[in-house]
Amino acid sequence: MTIERKIREHLHETAETLECPPAISKRIEQSYSHYLQRKRSEKTMKKRLIGGIVAAAILIPTAAFAAPPLIEMLTRTPLTAEQVKVDEVSKATLEKLYSAFPETKSFEIVDASNVQGEAINPKDSTDLSKIKVNQTSIILQEKGGTGKKITLHINAGTGEIEHVDQENWEPKEKPLISLTDQEIKAKVDNLIEKMYGSVNAYEFAMEQMENPDQKVLMLNYIIKGAEKPFYQVFVHDNAINLTRVGGEPAPSHIKVEGLFTRDGKPDYTYDSILNDDKLFSLLQISPTELKEELAKGQSVADIAASKNISKQQVLEVIANTQVEKQLEAEQNGVVPKSNRSKEQLLKDIEPKLLLILDHKNETPSN
């Protein structure tokens, strides 16, 4: 008998002895009825994708992912479009959406629901700590066309938008994922800027998830110095799933863009330094007023002088903020330790900040 024949016979004989354990059949049957349930509630796509994404997200230790699937375990109360329109928080969110994406005004609210209760929010596998959940979700969809769809999950208590899912905004023939990395980033940046504000204060990282069946990109936006991503975005197929993970609160001092301009465009480095709450209170000025003053061609030093505050005082305040940030980042291991004392750092930074205090925006030549 040839070896080929022997192997063939052996395999078939062995196969006869292999019986599929009933436990497996049972499990698959359960999977199927889960699938049916989801299908009936017409949310198959969303949940399946999120499920897959979360499974993938667990692989990356730095990725903190807020937990939509845990929330799904609580019962959702459906809301009618009318209920959404009278609810203060939802109304405000919709207004925001309409002004960010005017085309959404014509969209139909295809689904809305609210969920309340306590969900388990484990920090690790043994943790059972719970979080209170009160979330309203609204799904809007364009009639006809490419079926553009946008889903908003809002914290019904604070009105914060916790997740945004944008689907089908690109033509079917050229789905989002087929674009180049730069184009994808631009799309995501645009979504964040419209829904939340400037992305310039964040450090950015993009990586491709290990998923051979489907290309999934993960984009993290991290506040400089923070450990956890602030926005975490998954891009797959023709969808952007944006989650405000919020390892830390949004920097309150990033209030105004364009305090300083260079070639007519905001200078974000200078902006981020001047958006300092302590500076505003020292000068007793609101960020918007400061912007107006600077636009007239005055320098920060000029403004301080007009209020009888010395340049040195201003310098101390902003230098202190910057050095504290630097030290904190070193502490957290975000930047390598410089092993310099606070005094040394303050001394180093002062000449750089002096430039900012004396900087004058170019005023219109006319």
Partner: protein, 191 residues
């Protein structure tokens, strides 16, 4: 079973027909389970892979090429899920289990000992010792009787690669079986 009928069942199943699911499951699970068992060694892993295969079945129906026989499509699903399972780094969660499994490496295939004579055990072990890639080709060739061309399509690799894996696999098996004691060799050769 006819491919067209199977396709119809699949569609009904996808639309939520429990009966269609049952029929389709009953018609396929033994074959799928056995194939998976040949390719994946540990019981818990087989269970996971099986579940993934069937979940894939009702979610990726759109990819079904009705020009190809149903079983070809089904085996494609099986292979992709087995490969995916191997690649996936969530296996790291199983490290503990794998260490445990290492200590009883010899008992992978759960065959009843009575049915197995020494030669058969030898072949089983030899097949298990093949690399995953070789094993995949050997199982498809000898258990499912696919041609090497079909295997190339299923695995989505060039024919040349299939051939080299096939020959390398066979050679490894031959070598193992050459090492049998002389009386066993006679038994193999006396047909």
């Amino acid at each position: 079973m006819q491919s067209e009928y199977m396709y119809q069942l699949l569609t009904e199943m996808k639309d939520g027909d429990q009966q269609a699911f049952q029929t389709l499951y009953d018609a396929t699970y033994q074959d799928v389970y056995r194939t998976v068992s040949f390719l994946v060694d540990h019981q818990q892993d087989r269970e996971d892979v099986m579940n993934e295969i069937y979940m894939q079945m009702w979610t990726s129906l759109a990819n079904y090429d009705s020009n190809r026989p149903f079983h070809f499509w089904l085996h494609g699903l099986v292979i992709r899920q087995v490969q995916r399972f191997r690649v996936k780094s969530w296996r790291r969660f199983r490290i503990f289990e794998r260490i445990r499994a290492f200590t009883r490496e010899e008992s992978h295939w759960d065959q009843p000992a009575v049915l197995m004579d020494g030669t058969n055990q030898m072949i089983s072990q030899a097949i298990q010792k093949l690399t995953d890639k070789q094993r995949m080709v050997i199982i498809l060739r000898f258990y499912h009787d696919y041609t090497l061309e079909e295997i190339a399509t299923l695995l989505d690799i060039p024919l040349g690669t299939v051939k080299s894996r096939y020959h390398a696999g066979l050679q490894a098996l031959r070598k193992k079986i050459w090492n049998l004691p002389p009386e066993r060799m006679e038994k193999i050769n006396d047909y």
